[in-house]
């Protein structure tokens, strides 16, 4: 039998943009040697809407609802980042009551985002059950949003200078009830998944990205923490009064997919801890700071970043003194984290690539903007 019989030629195939496990419209061009991935190339831009360009043609107030539509799973965090950037540009002080409410809503959003990640990631791996359970828990959070600001997904909850809506009656009790409802459910997911041998077998040692690589690629968020780096902007550069709350930064050791799963699960628990502390200390007072009616920031530029559920979400805004920003640049966490895909996927199998794409926790609305 000739030697060439077992030789395989390199095969180049497309994965996506309609592939169900690429989480939207990501297209990955795979170079395959048999079942082994020898190289990947991401093709993005199928969901490009030009958010940054839209920002140049809208006033500061009008642009706030658009940023919700980038990472639509964590829209409240997006709005917080942009509002903080403009408040810094204007040097407007946000009242303490508004700050505490902002913390509660963004932490609820973090839980909702991680729940969706958990459900879809499980679905990719083949565990369909948790998807239905996470939707049930997320419903509790979305109901709070609906009652608070009138929308469930693209909330437009925050305004520049504070909040638009006063808390509704029974907000505190409902948030407490949601925490009480979700906390035992997280243990339930762990019972379903953490010890499950299929889950462990599919995730352990897959998509390893060590701390050094994370820093070189600029990877942030749970992916960086799973590699063992204790870096969280809520602790490192506290904003919105995060320095007043007690919480821990969960970290992993190996930086593989399984550690990222554990880090995100623990982050949900820590978020619940922050919410419980915040609900007890909602101060009275105004909810809107002294922001001018027509927002005309002085000439200058500002960069503000927050810890969004997926990593560091930054806004770089340049003002030329008019009512519209001269330039808005967004540093989306998913876009930067997606760069590490090639590094993680090289040498793995195609089935593991699905797990790796899932573990980055990308939202294509944010990658393409």
């Amino acid at each position: 039998m000739p030697d060439t019989f077992l030789d395989s030629t390199e095969l180049v195939i497309n994965m996506g943009p309609q592939h169900p496990s690429t989480h939207g419209v990501l297209r990955v061009i795979l170079k395959l040697d048999g079942e082994k991935v020898t190289g990947t190339e991401c093709v993005i831009g199928y969901l490009h809407r030009g958010v940054e360009k839209i920002g140049e043609n809208r006033t500061y107030v009008q642009f706030v609802p658009y940023v919700d539509r980038m990472d639509y799973v964590a829209s409240v965090s997006n709005g917080l980042g942009f509002c903080l950037a403009i408040e810094k540009l204007l040097s407007v002080e946000v009242p303490p009551r508004a700050q505490v409410v902002r913390v509660i809503l963004t932490e609820l959003n973090r839980i909702a985002s991680h729940l969706i990640w958990l459900g879809t990631h499980c679905l990719d791996i083949g565990a369909i059950t948790p998807l239905f359970y996470v939707m049930r828990e997320r419903e509790e959070i979305l109901n709070i949003y609906e009652k608070y600001c009138g929308a469930r997904l693209t909330t437009h909850a925050f305004r520049i200078g504070g909040l638009e809506y006063e808390l509704y009656d029974g907000f505190e009790q409902e948030v407490e009830a949601a925490c009480d409802f979700i906390a035992p459910k997280i243990d339930e997911y762990e019972r379903l998944l953490t010890g499950n041998r299929i889950w462990v077998g599919r995730l352990k040692g897959i998509g390893v990205l060590n701390a050094e690589d994370c820093k070189q690629y600029g990877v942030t968020g749970p992916m960086l923490r799973a590699a063992g780096v204790k870096w969280d902007l809520r602790k490192a550069q506290p904003y919105s009064g995060y320095e007043q709350y007690e919480f821990e930064i969960p970290t992993g050791e190996n930086g593989d997919t399984y550690d990222r799963y554990l880090v995100r699960i623990e982050e949900m628990r820590q978020s619940i801890r922050i919410i419980r502390q915040a609900v007890e200390r909602i101060p009275t007072g105004p909810i809107m700071g002294k922001a001018p009616k027509v927002i005309k920031p002085p000439v200058g530029e500002v960069y503000v970043s927050i810890e969004a559920p997926k990593g560091e979400l930054g806004y770089f805004v340049v003002s030329d003194g008019s009512t519209q920003p001269y330039r808005v640049r967004v540093r989306p966490p998913s876009f930067i984290n997606l760069q590490a895909l090639d590094k993680m996927a090289r040498g793995s199998l195609v089935a593991d690539l699905v797990a790796i794409i899932g573990t980055i926790d990308i939202v294509l609305g944010e990658v393409d903007r």
Binding site: R58, V61, Q62, F63, V64, P65, Y66, R69, T129, Y133, R136, N143, E146, K147, Y148, C149, G150, A151, T154, H156, E164, Y165, Y168, E188, R191, L192, L193, G195, N196, R197
Partner: protein, 151 residues
Amino acid sequence: MRKLLRAIFLIDLIEGLWVTFHYQRPKYMCTDQYPTERPKVAERYRGAPRLNINPENGETLCIACNLCALACPEKLIVVGSERNEKTRRKELTTFTYDISRCMFCGLCEDACPVDALELTQDFELASYNREGAIWDRQMLEEGPKPTEYKY
């Protein structure tokens, strides 16, 4: 040893399956019977826009100040007005609202100085053609009329 026993008797899988079967009870069913039972949305829900009229005399509350059209990020509101020569005041003639471009951000509602324009709890906005998504003044005052299903 314990690990081996757990592995042999598939304890990890059984624990997970227990969670699944625990939720089989009818108590946990949560299907909404949608067309017959409409969900009750929250009071602040941002749904279909409505142009309020004064319930006493049926006149519109809108003062044609054009602030909602200026506040709208998508510039989808067109306010038509003409000056009444007798009272020297602006009066509303036409009001067009393009639902198909609306993203329900609520900025027009915030901008309205007299609470004439409001986003209501109606959420069924489908129409049979594209022209149906452009609402005129009459449609905005009456609100959408979704079909009631009774089985």
